[in-house]
Amino acid sequence: MPLIFTIAWRNIFRHRGKSLVIGVILFLGAFLMTVGSGIITGLDRGLKDNIVNSFTGDLLVISSKQINNAVLTPMSGAASEPINNFIQFRSVLKQHKMIDHYVPAAQGTPMVMSDEGDPDFNFIIGVDFKQYRTMFPDKFRVLEGRQPKDGERGLLLTEFNRRTNYEYLLNYWVIPEGAKLVTANLSKEALTAYTKGTLRVKEKMVFMGMNDKTSAMDIMPPVLGIIKFKALDTFIGISNLVDIETYRECFGYTTAAESHVTLNKEQASLLTNADLSDDDLFSNETMFGSAGSSASDYSIHSVKQETARTLVVTENHLDVDAGMYNMIFIKLKSGVPLLKAVNVLNQDLKPYGVRVITWRQALGEIAELATIIKASLFIFVMFIFFVAIIIIMNTLSMAALERVSEIGMMRAVGARKGFISKMFFSETAFLSFFFGGLGILVGLITITILSWIGLSTDNDMLQLLYGGARFHPFLTMGDIVACLIQLSIVTVISTLYPMRVARQITPLHAIAKD
């Protein structure tokens, strides 16, 4: 073993107390850092799984007229600005090399009326169920009832909304069409009413949408199923799912069925051509202008009644897409960087009067909460580092001063400053390697055990921290490398000052000490 290492190694044992203090701090620092980054990575992955993959996708296309980005936040109340020309840029999305899946949707907040006529609001998202399932497969469970058939119209009521509606507004409990009451799913209050024999059960709910013409449309979609998102139900379970045509009817927008009727045969055949080029689309722009002109044309309501039921049979996606949406969920291909995709897509979609935002922007404060939790963890870890650096620095500086005569003598005999630095640094490096390494290892084991135990929670805040219903802290290879780098940085920073102190010790200091 080289001389410096021998001396450093033996000094560690000679100054056991100090070595242990530094070692314990390095151990704790490395341990907390590892566990912290495991939680952060788990949180990120959980959020990705439970929000991005179940609810929002990576990016959303919204109308460029839309002012507030947080289109998925219930507080916003008003429906987002409509996108009437989706069919024009659909092929852009379809062929885009960054995009894996997309599903167009319309979000809005219709009123729900109690039997007494008291209004409250429910959040609904109108989609094509089939497309939606393709994009977000198996992300919610159907508690009661069933999944809609392809092209079927109706409502998927979330368990969260059923419960809160019952508790705060409706005096009846909603169950799917033709289903039996499942008493196990009753909320506390509903169960009390049930045992008393006073629980009223209904298979339908009335939604009343508003539009800018202030004429309200009552709709009563069949309740197909009661659904529950796998995690973060309180946050994302506020959105009922409804078929897009029902949504359009509810808010008085042009339905695809109406567009269909207003188109002549030639135009319709053009529309159903899946291989439409951009040129074709642009040359027909005026046609879509009339087809998608939202709530302005009310004469078509009479037509709607006739077309509504046949729609199930004759509709295909293209027809559906001819109507109004107000957001398009986009899932990127894996590995595509989010912000780069935002820029590229914004460029590509600029001509269509829409813009692209991230899922975080769309979620507003829910995503912010998760970011805050993440940032706090990060700050906590940084704080641990800071404290560790200060303590190690102080301990080592004192150690240097206690070893003045030894260091000064080494210098007198002919050891250069560099020798002293290396000796000092080697001591900390040994400690850091051993205790810090041990900390990372124990952290890794802790994370593995925690993940294996798989703590689960119903608490909403904890779910945000967990990134879902289950706590799955997780460390990637990159995290471990990052921990090692951080540990090295701590080691270097905390040794710099003590090293400087030691380097400045001269033989004279040693003699003066005698």
């Binding site: 001389l3 021998t6 001396i7 033996r10 000094n11 000679r14 005569s405 030894e406 000064g408 003598m409 080494m410 210098r411 007198a412 005999v413 002919g414 050891a415 250069r416 400053k417 020798f419 001269t506 033989p507 004279l508 040693a510 003699i511 005698d514």
Partner: protein, 229 residues
């Protein structure tokens, strides 16, 4: 064997001042001194006369306030830290008034220390040189002991072995016998004289013990920071 007449050490008008509060302590007041290769020189003087200060300046561990110090033809007052450190390593052996050894190294490792810093010798050569000197100072049986396990005199002898192991041109010893009983002190002085005679190593040692002076070939007297004789 003829002794070279070129001076190994040459000091001219060397002064050393220590600021002390509002006043200044004049430890050396203009010292001129020439030491030739192979000298066995003793510096004597009362306590506080400037012996240690003078040796520290010659040994390159302290800097003169003014004047010129030339060692082996090199002016040291203008050297940087690295050059001075290397000069100490290659040309000078220092035996301190109190014995400073590296606590975590045993006797043989302490003696090997400067040789290992030089990085010029093979492992086996380092070992054999160190062993030879440990034997010379009579510590063969203690070569594996740590400094804390040795007596004061034994530690002093380790320090001497360490100073000699690199075969430096100059060995400086600041009251090498002050902490030793007279018998051990004499043994060490014998050892130094032996080396001087066999290897022509230049010795400069300070003392105010008149017994020690019997060994000296040259005596320089110092008083109040001035060489008087």
């Amino acid at each position: 064997m003829a002794i070279s007449t070129t001076p190994l050490i040459h000091l001219s008008s060397v002064t050393k001042e220590y600021p002390l509060g509002n006043t200044t302590v004049h430890a050396l007041r203009g010292v001129d001194l020439t030491v030739s290769k192979g000298d066995f020189m003793s510096i004597v003087g009362p306590s506080g006369s400037g012996k240690t200060t003078l040796l520290n300046i010659i040994g390159c561990i302290d800097q003169a306030t003014s004047g010129s110090v030339v060692i082996d033809g090199q002016e040291i007052t203008t050297m940087n830290d690295k050059q001075i450190t290397d000069l100490r390593l290659y040309k000078i052996g220092f035996i301190f008034q109190t014995f400073n050894l590296i606590p975590v190294l045993n006797v043989i490792e302490n003696v090997e220390f400067p040789l290992l810093l030089m990085k010029t010798f093979s492992k086996t050569e380092v070992r054999s040189r160190a062993e030879r000197l440990i034997e010379a100072v009579g510590l063969s049986e203690h070569s594996q002991h740590r400094p804390a396990e040795l007596s004061g005199g034994q530690r002093q002898r380790v320090a001497i072995a360490r100073a000699l192991v690199t075969q430096p041109a100059i060995i400086l010893a600041d009251e090498p016998t002050a902490n030793l009983d007279s018998e051990t002190g004499n043994q060490i002085l014998e050892l130094m004289r032996d080396l001087n005679q066999k290897e022509h190593t230049t010795f400069i040692f300070s003392t105010h013990d008149h017994n020690v002076l019997a060994y000296a070939k040259k005596i320089v007297k110092i008083k109040d920071g001035l060489i008087t004789e």
